[in-house]
Symmetry: C2
Subunit: 245 residues, 2 copies
DNA sequence: CAGTGGTCTAGACCACTAT
DNA sequence: TAGTGGTCTAGACCACTGA
């Protein structure tokens, strides 16, 4: 680990304009990407950079803080700031409501409730949601279509212990997801992406062959420490979640 | 859309301690989660909140800015800050190197190069990476194992136009990913998650039946506008990517 | 214990945009 | 055009941690 060269190429300040933290951030990023400061290098301190850029330390601080969040550098008090050996890569996906996903793509959204049943929560569900045995649960299956083509199959369990009002809610015209977002908008979520084989039910709803690979999202939702709902979303053939970073 | 109640329950300031932006953030979050401020409500302005909390406006500003990033509120100049009708949900996944993924789970990492071939890039690859026809490319397949069990199958193409030094690099002992991270640490990436059926090659390497569902990550990497590499990572049976938010 | 980042403040000016 | 958030500054004190 060598330290960075003194390297004072071009004080970015051009006109009489005031330096923004964005300018600082962009310049630091440039130096890292172009290896002016190589991985492992020690970056000059905030005071020094503030002098170089002709701005307040707080401005440099904000720039560096954001670069830290983005995984380019690593900061430690007293030790200083170093360019990460391996940039920390993180993918961010927005999780929209199906309706928004479909209408956003310019297609017509259609929702259908396929089945609805109140029953004792099966053991696997109790284990999964930390419910007491024989808790009651609402089991729903639904289909979301885009321009008449099946897009997403939803298999959902709602704990009637945590959400008794779900038993009388109307899921004929609106999906349970939308109902839940209104009933409990701010909750804690665990989400998983996985590939699994289409069960006969899923295959029938989505027009697939049983056993065909299905991209699946599984989401568990909690509020105030209590499990509310578990849902498996199975997507149409060839679906992918994509992002850039 | 009603406006939030005046609602001044408990000025958080307890002891003579200085208020942190974390305190402000936590309190605002609490009020939103517990519906003191309902979805759609207008939140008091920064000046007013600063008075309530007995801190500087900058402190409130930082708290609110972070809550904005986290998707709880929506801010517009002049219009003020509103609680989002639907919290903006976003899932963040860390993308580690396979080696870190495996050793991090306490297992022993093993790497094997299965095949290596220099050839003219096939048309589909040229299209995908915006290469000129007949560009040369390096095609590699590798297997990453955890405690001797196949964990991830890697099918990678590297553009020899953009990275000629890849032709002489040694991929016998270290995976191409690690080589790339050193050669071109800071690049632009497009990543997709999908489910696909195991091809015979994938199935053989991972010990699956052909046609079985495979969780797959596809990643394209660019630097300075030029495509460097395209990789498909196929995971062991039942693999899932999980995160909380 | 000394150096670096982390945070707060009080004040100022600016940019956007609803009205 | 006025009100709200967005950002910068200069200065201060603090917290962590490497030497």
């Amino acid at each position: 680990m060598t330290d960075a060269q003194p390297s004072r190429p071009i004080p970015v300040a051009a006109g009489g304009e005031k330096i923004s933290f964005r300018d600082v951030k962009a310049e630091i990023r440039r130096r890292i990407e172009q290896r002016v400061w190589a991985p492992g290098d020690l970056v000059p301190g905030e005071v020094e950079l503030a002098e170089e850029f002709g701005c307040a330390r707080a401005t440099v601080n904000r720039a560096m803080r954001e670069l830290t969040e983005e995984g380019l550098v690593d900061r430690k008090r007293k030790a200083g700031t170093r360019v990460r050996m391996t940039p920390l890569r993180q993918a961010r996906f927005e999780i929209p409501l199906v309706r928004a996903e479909i209408t956003g793509a310019g297609a017509k959204y259609r929702y259908a409730l396929l089945s609805r049943e109140v029953q004792a929560a099966p053991p696997w569900l109790c284990a999964r949601l930390a419910l007491r045995a024989d808790s009651r649960a609402l089991h729903l299956t639904c289909l979301h279509s885009a321009d008449g083509v099946p897009y997403q199959y939803e298999d959902r369990w709602i704990s009637l212990v945590a959400l008794p009002q779900a038993e009388t809610a109307d899921f004929q015209t609106r999906g349970p997801n939308e109902w839940l977002v209104e009933a409990v908008p701010y909750s804690e979520v665990e989400i998983s992406f996985l590939a699994c084989a289409a069960t006969p039910g899923v295959a029938a709803a989505l027009g697939l062959e049983p056993g065909e690979p299905v991209f699946t999202v599984e989401r568990t939702t909690w509020w105030a420490g209590a499990a509310l709902t578990l849902v498996r979303l199975s997507y149409e053939r060839g679906h992918r979640m994509t992002t850039r970073y």
